[in-house]
């Protein structure tokens, strides 16, 4: 095989994702529409919810905070799953999926932290009280940052993928332990006044907007994720082409 011949082998390595590109290509517009509908209707209903007797209008931050927190956990689960697939199956798409989900997950975590802090301000009087759940999310945020940093620190893409996969799997085991330990810790220090950020979620008038927003966030995450995966695949193809022009 000639030098040129070898180079095309690299690109055809990625030919499999062609199917992914086709399918994702037609999913994305529909998904975008669905996301807009879900979030739009969720916000609409959220604004029409009557003020809570305890928290007033600030309870509405919950509709932004809770779905963000859930999506951030979902993203980490997705990364762990993709990492496992990548290690076991060695499919390059799994690695790309894990890598691209991380900044999204980190952003949703940051959103959850900020909105959680804002939500707590009127109740607690300060922006941060080391509430058990927020603290767990703070640690999760650092896990995300470490994961992203590891991807960026290792130059060889293949090796970076495997290292990040190991970290994600270790992290997923650890994050369960962290959650438990933070809960334990917060009862040790604040036995009396743990204000659960959950709030009163029983009335149906709260549930509908919440579910819509949760669905909308999930759809948004998948939408952005698919877009990022496509971009990454194209970037790799471009790099492969460039390398063989030299």
């Amino acid at each position: 095989m000639s030098e040129r011949g070898l180079s095309w082998a690299t690109i055809f390595e990625f030919a499999n994702p062609k199917r992914f590109m086709d399918v994702s290509g037609w999913i994305i517009p529909w998904l975008a529409a669905l996301t807009a509908i879900l979030i739009g209707s969720g916000l609409f209903l959220a604004f029409r919810v009557p003020p809570d007797y305890q928290q007033g209008d600030t309870v509405k931050i919950m509709f932004i905070h809770v779905p963000a927190a859930l999506t951030s956990m979902m993203a980490y689960g997705a990364i762990a799953f993709a990492s496992l697939l990548g290690l076991v199956n060695r499919h390059p798409l799994a690695d790309v999926a894990a890598k691209t989900a991380a900044p999204l997950g980190a952003t949703f975590t940051a959103l959850a932290l900020i909105t959680g802090s804002l939500w707590g301000r009127p109740m607690w009087g300060t922006y941060w009280v080391w509430d058990a759940r927020l603290t767990s999310f703070l640690i999760l945020f650092f896990l995300y940052l470490g994961y992203i940093a590891l991807w960026n620190a290792i130059e060889d893409e293949v090796r970076a993928a495997k290292a990040a996969a190991i970290l994600a799997l270790v992290g997923v085991v650890d994050v369960v332990i962290v959650k438990y330990s933070v809960d334990w810790w917060s009862t040790l220090h604040q036995g009396e006044s743990i204000f659960r950020l959950g709030g009163p979620l029983i009335a149906p008038v709260f549930l509908w907007p919440l579910f819509l927003m949760m669905g909308g966030y999930a759809a948004l995450f998948v939408l952005l994720w698919l877009i990022r995966i496509r971009t990454e695949i194209l970037a790799r193809r471009a790099r492969a082409l460039l390398r063989h022009e030299v």
Binding site: M1, E3, T10, E157, V158
Partner: protein, 209 residues
Amino acid sequence: MTALSGLDIEALSLWRGERMLFCDLALSVGAGEALKLEGPNGSGKTSLLRAIAGFLEPRAGTIRVRTNNGEQFAGGEERAEFVGWLGHQDGAKSQLTPLEALSFYARYYGSTACVEEVLQLVGLSRLGDLPAQYLSAGQKRRLALARLSLSARPLWLLDEPLASLDASGKALVAELVAQHCKDGGLAVIATHEPLGFEGPRLTLGNGQT
């Protein structure tokens, strides 16, 4: 030293990251043979040696060692116990003296060889108690040779063994390799320079087929 009857490589395809080094490589080395590996820098000599040693997973193909008992080992970590490695770096810990380093390796590899004798063999007897950071590059290379011969492994993989050695050092390498082959060992040696004896050779170039 468990005796090997041969090393066989078939249809080997090796990649570094996203770059292919070579594909469909085949070679065979029998007991008592020393194969010289040649080729320009970047052609994959070191990677091939690392693949044989089991550090680097090949993309395709098999690397197999055959023992005199008729057993075969094709897995990377299984081959490790047969490999005597001499890489680019000397593996010398700067805070340890040659005597300490060799005693460690003797104990670690389970060798019964006498450490002082091996030091004498490579000409470092006088320097046995000097921490390695004070040794010259050539002396560290001799220490590495001492360690190699101590390990009593049948398959020697040498990556540029003659680097930083003077004429007597190079003669020492040739002697050690010759003795090793006479004792029934095998060697694969990547080098630019002449080894001082004739033998089979393999050239890696651009796109080996």
